[in-house]
Each structure stands twice: as structure tokens, then as C-alpha cells.
């Protein structure tokens, strides 16, 4: 009789343990919701304020206008109180600087990735990879004053010596330095992608008597192209959204030009200019910052989504 009690096994769960599990899960859900909620909030506020801006300035004027001078009157009765809000010079300025940056970063980043993954000995790899990662760790404001105080004057002096008129806040200076900044982004992503190409591919090619560089050009790189394209898109999106360097080195003059030696301005630099200092919060000038922010957000979001999708699809290919 006494045995029968201990022979039964206790299968009923303890209420206390179950309650604790629920509590832990609740905390975890709450934490992850904070980030989601904040993101949704930011997007909504962007949309909402941008919408208020477009109530005053038509969307087409904003997207296709070529004049950008968001001056609002100090007094309500002043002339030219509304200013012009054509974003084209900002968009072209952004693209010009990003283009220069990509022209610098693509070859340097890609070629160093190829060197690191295919040629470098373990020792030099252990030396160069961290060095590149340090580049990625430099605060952008440091790049900014490097561009403004070192590179821009150099370009200006160099231009003068050959009779070129280089603006002291040129697109070239900002683009060059931004290019240096995104090299590690391209090189480390491309390095990963190239390393993901199976050794069997290289063996097959080398085993048929292809040289090392033939193997890289004809087998490794073609296999890695989608992933490399993805890394370039991510870098471009980073360049378009970069703020500090252009604020310090690119200037605020909204010139519509393709000449890299002239001063241009970018979407990010203008947003900073629009919102720093005391501002009347419901003026078209302030609200235009949200419209610009929306343009920037949509562009980089699309670039990031496309890039990540490409990279992911590529990685699956060899799993």
C-alpha cells in the first residue's frame, strides 16, 4: 500500500514554473517590440510631416524643381516669403558625391578583397584585415574634418597650380574621403562572398591547368558577382545616407552641376542645415526636411532590401 504512492509519477506541471516562463517570454516580447514600435513611429512621423509639407508645396514642384532656396521670411510681410523647394540639385549633388565615392571605393575595396581572399598569406591577412576594420571604426566626423581641412585645401592648391578653379568645398573632396570610408564595407563583404565560393570550383579550374589569375577571373569572380553586386549596393546606400562628411566638406550651395570641382550640397547636409538652430516648426522650410528625409529613407530602404536579397540568394546557392 505504502509503495503505490511513490510508484505514481508526478506529471502535473508546477504553476509557479509555468508562470515564470510566461513572465520571461513577456519581457522578451516587450523588448523586441520597443525597436519595432520606434521604427514604425519614425516612419509615421516622417510620412505625416512630409504630408504637411506637400500640402503647401506640390509634390511635383518638390521632385522636379531645380531651384533650392528654402529661405523663409523673418517677418510674415517680407517679400519672397516662401522660398523655392526644388530637390533636384540636392539629389544630383548626393548622386555626384556618392558616384565619386563609389569610383574610389569599388576598385580599391574589390581588389583588396581579392588580394585578401586569394593571394594574401595568413600573416599579411592578419595584418591587413584589422587595418581595414580600423578604417571602418573611425568616427565619420573625423573623416569630415579630414576632408574639410586636409583634402579640400590640397585639391584647391593642386587645382590652382594647374590653373583649375577648385571650390574650397568641392564635391571631389567629400567624395574622395567618403570613398575611403566605405572601402572596408566593400572589402569585407566581398571578401566573405569570395570565400564562400567553394574550394571545389578552384580545384576544378586549377586541376585543368588554369593559372591562378585565370581561375579568379573566370571562375571565382563570376560565381561571386551577385554577392559582390549586393555589397556594392549596400555601400552605395551607405554613401547616399552619409551625413557628417558632406556637412563638413561639401557645403550648402545648391548648385545643379556635374562638375566635381564645384561645391554641391546633398540631401543629408540640407536636412542638417534646415533643422539646426531655432526654427519655426510649422514653416515650409522646416517641414521640407521631413520630405527630404522621406526621399532618403525610401532610396536607402530600396537599395538595402535589394542588396540583402541578392546577397542572401547568392549564399543559398552554395549551401
Amino acid at each position: 500500500m505504502a509503495n503505490s504512492d511513490s510508484a505514481t509519477i508526478d506529471l502535473v506541471h508546477s504553476q509557479r514554473k509555468k508562470g515564470f516562463e510566461l513572465f520571461v517570454m513577456g519581457v522578451l516580447i516587450l523588448c523586441s517590440l520597443v525597436a519595432v514600435a520606434v521604427t514604425v513611429g519614425i516612419v509615421l512621423s516622417l510620412l505625416f510631416e512630409a504630408f504637411r509639407f506637400f500640402e503647401r508645396i506640390p509634390l511635383t514642384d518638390f521632385l522636379f524643381g531645380t531651384q533650392w532656396s528654402p529661405q523663409t521670411a523673418l517677418r510674415a510681410d517680407q517679400v519672397a516669403a516662401e522660398g523655392a523647394f526644388g530637390a533636384v540639385p540636392l539629389i544630383t549633388g548626393t548622386l555626384l558625391i556618392s558616384f565619386i565615392a563609389m569610383c574610389v571605393a569599388t576598385p580599391l575595396g574589390l581588389l583588396s578583397a581579392i588580394y585578401l581572399s586569394e593571394y594574401a598569406s595568413k600573416r599579411s591577412r592578419n595584418l591587413i584585415k584589422p587595418a581595414l576594420e580600423i578604417l571602418a571604426g573611425i568616427p565619420t566626423v573625423v573623416y569630415g574634418f579630414f576632408a574639410a581641412l586636409t583634402v579640400a585645401p590640397l585639391l584647391r592648391a593642386g587645382g590652382e597650380s594647374v590653373g583649375l578653379n577648385v571650390s574650397s568645398e568641392s564635391a571631389l573632396a567629400a567624395g574622395l574621403v567618403m570613398g575611403i570610408m566605405i572601402i572596408p564595407l566593400i572589402s569585407s563583404l566581398s571578401d566573405d562572398v569570395i570565400n564562400a565560393v567553394p574550394q571545389a570550383m578552384r580545384d576544378a579550374s586549377l586541376g585543368m591547368g588554369a593559372t591562378h589569375s585565370e581561375t579568379i577571373r573566370k571562375v571565382v569572380l563570376p560565381s561571386a558577382i551577385p554577392g559582390i553586386a549586393g555589397s556594392l549596393l549596400l555601400a552605395a546606400s551607405r554613401a547616399i545616407g552619409e551625413t557628417m562628411i558632406v556637412v563638413m566638406a561639401a557645403g550648402l550651395a545648391a548648385n545643379l552641376t556635374a562638375n566635381p570641382l564645384e561645391a554641391v550640397t546633398t540631401i543629408t547636409a540640407q536636412i542638417v542645415a534646415l533643422l539646426t538652430g531655432d526654427q519655426e516648426f510649422d514653416s515650409a522650410k522646416t517641414l521640407s526636411a521631413f520630405a527630404l528625409g522621406l526621399v532618403l529613407f525610401v532610396t536607402t530602404l530600396v537599395l538595402n532590401v535589394v542588396a540583402l536579397r541578392i546577397v542572401r540568394k547568392y549564399q543559398e546557392q552554395y549551401d
Binding site: 570550383m201 580545384d203 586541376g207 585543368m208 591547368g209 588554369a210 546557392q317
Partner: protein, 254 residues
Amino acid sequence: MSKTAIISAKDVDVFYGEKQALNKINLDIPENKVTSLIGPSGCGKSTFLRSINRMNDLVDICRVEGSITIKGQDIYAPEVDVVALRAKVGMVFQKPNPFPKSIYENVAYGPKIHGLAKSKTDMDEIVEWSLIKAGLWKEVKDRLDQPGTGLSGGQQQRLCIARTIAVKPQVVLMDEPCSALDPIATAIIEELIDELRNNFTIVIVTHSMQQAARVSQRTAFFHLGELVESGATKSIFTSPEDERTQNYIMGRIG
């Protein structure tokens, strides 16, 4: 025997760092025959195979001593170009590894880098010849532009064989070419190997004793980095001289 030997290994030692993987290997491999290398895992048979086309060069810590000659020429001599060597000594790997390119491009890859075709017609001929030789032409002739990676495992391996022989090598090394394939695909490849020996000298590493017995005329048994015994396949399997060989083919070691 040595008169018809195309490959001749003399006192070959191979080291990985401090570790010796092969110890004084002496082996003659006859022309236009299939030679199989058998032995338990880690016995050095793949290492020996990879020494024949210097794929071991790709391993930093690998060192080869002794001599391996092909048609009398020492392949480790300083003036030898590994690129030229590998064009003469092709290799088929354990796992089918077609390039992520079209079937046509896979086969045309080698001839292209070695400049074997003067025109598009030449190249078409080489591709067709290689695919016919590899027994794949009938299955793929209508879809040469499709990716080689879309074929079945056995077809992929035959594509890799076609790719290798497209360069017209004299020797084809095969490193367990059927270990990733099902029995039917394996049977097809074995038949193919038997036909290929009319044009090429074949050296095959295999874990399957039956496969060695079916496809090869010569067999070499490796054990713990040593070449224990080599000779006609029939005599190795029916009357091995060494006790270790006997134990292995009876399934007692391995």
C-alpha cells in the same frame, strides 16, 4: 612492364609539415590502362594521386621528395610549369563540381584557356567530342545552354569528366569519382572508365574493392603511407602476397 609505363614514381616521400604521409613509394603506371589505388582511409592514396598533377602544391605545408616522371620527364623539376602539367594530367574530383555556367561553357572552359580551338566550329567539335566520350551527349545535346549545376549527380560527374578530357590530357586522375553517386550512376561511370582507357591512362582512387576489381587492370594497395603491394588486379585480388593486402580485401582491416 616499365617499358610501357607512362608514369613512374621513385622513392616518393610526401610530408604535411612534420607528418610524413607517404614513405618511399615506387610505382609504375602503364599507359592506356586503368590503375586503381586502394587502401583504408588515411593511407595516402589520395595524397599520391594529387602528387601526380601537383595539386598538392596548393597545400602550403606540403612537401614532396623523390621523383615522379611522366614520359621520362620529372614533373617536380624546377623548369616544369604546373599549368602545362595539369593540362596533360587532368583530374576528376570526389564530388561533382561543375562550374555555375552552362553545360557548353563547362566543357569549353579548358580548351578556351589553353587556346585549343581556332574557331567556334572547332570549339563546337571539341565540346561534342568530349560529351560523346563522356557518354553524356545524347542526354544534353538539346540543352547545352542550360546550367551544368541543374543536371543530376551522375550527369554532373560525367560533365566533369567531359570537361577534363576536353583538354585532351594523356592521364586522367580520378579521386573516388563515384563516392557521391547512386549505384546506377556508378555503373554508368564505371562503363565509361572502361571505354576511356582506349584514349587515356586512368588512375583511380576508390574505396570500393568491387569497383577496383571491375574497372582496373592494375591495382596498388596502400597502407599507413606505404605501398604494400601492386600488380595485376586479378592477382592482387585472388592471390595477394602480403598478409595486409589479404586482410584488407577480405574486409578485416580498413
